[in-house]
Symmetry: C2
Subunit: 247 residues, 2 copies
């Protein structure tokens, strides 16, 4: 199988960069603040960032005291940005799919991944691989699109009232795990839908102790700047899981 690599599509890459550059977006107003709060202490720790993208989190880990960060991404274009904008002597960037991390001959105190894991088909294998790469006492912290979103990208969505406000959300096929065709930024690609029960059971059965789960909400000022974010009270966009390897 050839790994899907949509971020090396120039059009998708440019569209994504424009959205991520906005003052208030779903990443900087909802997902990233929650992920930051859930980070363990990183002083003198080693970190692996799966799907590191622009490398912004890698530099943040260094600022928090990490002694060594490895950022991997399947996209060469993303890594070019990371090397230009987020370089540090203690950060290494590597072009590698997260399906291939079992080839890494290192151990880490934190394995981190922001909004990338829903591109991976074999979730159970990924959890097992991550468990194998962690030191005892190490932490896995990842975010992904909520199963509410991944369930049926082509069926349903928000329902509006007569004033155009979001009032409810419609979805289908939640219980059927598997590939979903998505279309965003004029690009067709695949995400993988998994139920909450599949996600938590796979994490638990890989040996992890689940310690915290979060479906992050925007704060009031974000909703004022971006009113459509009130839809998060109807259904969350993201799922964040923190789990620990207890030796």
């Amino acid at each position: 199988m050839t790994e899907q690599n949509i971020f090396d599509n120039q059009h998708f890459f440019d569209g994504y960069k424009e959205i991520r550059g906005r003052e208030v977006n779903y990443n900087n107003a909802i997902e990233q603040p929650a992920m930051s709060k859930m980070l363990p202490c990183l002083t003198e720790k080693t970190v692996l960032d799966l799907g590191c993208g622009y490398g912004y989190n890698c530099t943040d880990f260094i600022e928090r005291g990490a002694k060594k960060v490895l950022g991997i991404d399947i996209s060469k274009k993303m890594l070019e940005v990371a090397k230009a904008e987020s370089s540090d002597p203690h950060i290494e960037y590597m072009q590698l799919s997260m399906t291939e991390i079992s080839s890494l001959n290192m151990k880490f105190d934190l394995v981190y991944s922001s909004l990338a894991i829903h591109y991976i088909e074999d979730f159970k294998k990924l959890m097992t691989d991550i468990y194998g790469l962690l030191n005892n006492g190490g932490t896995l912290l990842f975010s992904q699109e909520s199963p509410f979103i991944t369930a049926s990208p082509k069926v349903g969505g928000y329902n509006l009232d007569e004033n155009g406000r979001r009032v409810s959300f419609t979805f289908s096929d939640y219980s059927i795990c598997g590939a979903r065709e998505e279309h965003w930024l004029d690009t067709d690609y695949i995400k993988y839908h998994r139920t909450f029960s599949k996600i938590f059971t796979d994490i638990a059965q890989s040996g992890f102790v689940i310690s915290e789960v979060c479906e992050p909400m925007p704060d009031k000022s974000a909703v004022e700047k971006c009113p459509s974010m009130s839809g998060q009270y109807i259904k969350p966009q993201f799922l964040i899981v923190k789990a620990v390897k207890k030796g």
Copy 2:
């Protein structure tokens, strides 16, 4: 606060008994088979059944080798049925709300609860109380209505196609935990909605190791007998969690 006790309302009690007596219902075709598969070995074990109802599970635990079962329920009428239909020298029935279990001066190897926990307001306290009642190595196994269902009982529901088949599901207010007014069997009552993240975080932070999560599906023969059950592929009705106290 006076505990809600809808099963001692004769009309509700009679309506519920009729539904549970049907050959194929959501309990005996979907929830109970999944719960049975997730039970730990009960040979010579002690069990606490929270919201034991008719006591059918209590007798099942004895048949599986349990040496002692305590069934508690807030409803006197339910316990009258249990004592008449599900008695055994090794089963004790007690009228007690599960908000008061910390008063029990006993320890158990399994704390079990089938479809009763969504009536309880303070989930975190309940998890802490259960943890305190378990022996080291003991198991918590419970089912509840899915957060998909509890989110907005008065908004949404299934959407049908032109042939009357269920094709999608609409809900709202998922991210807002708290009381929901329900109306079923001509009776108004309260259930408590909690997000997946609230449920799993409270369980984890009470000390439990989550070991398995299930959103059970009907098998083919159940869907043939009761075609509306195919709606379970759109969204599950139940959530089942198994967690362990590791000393």
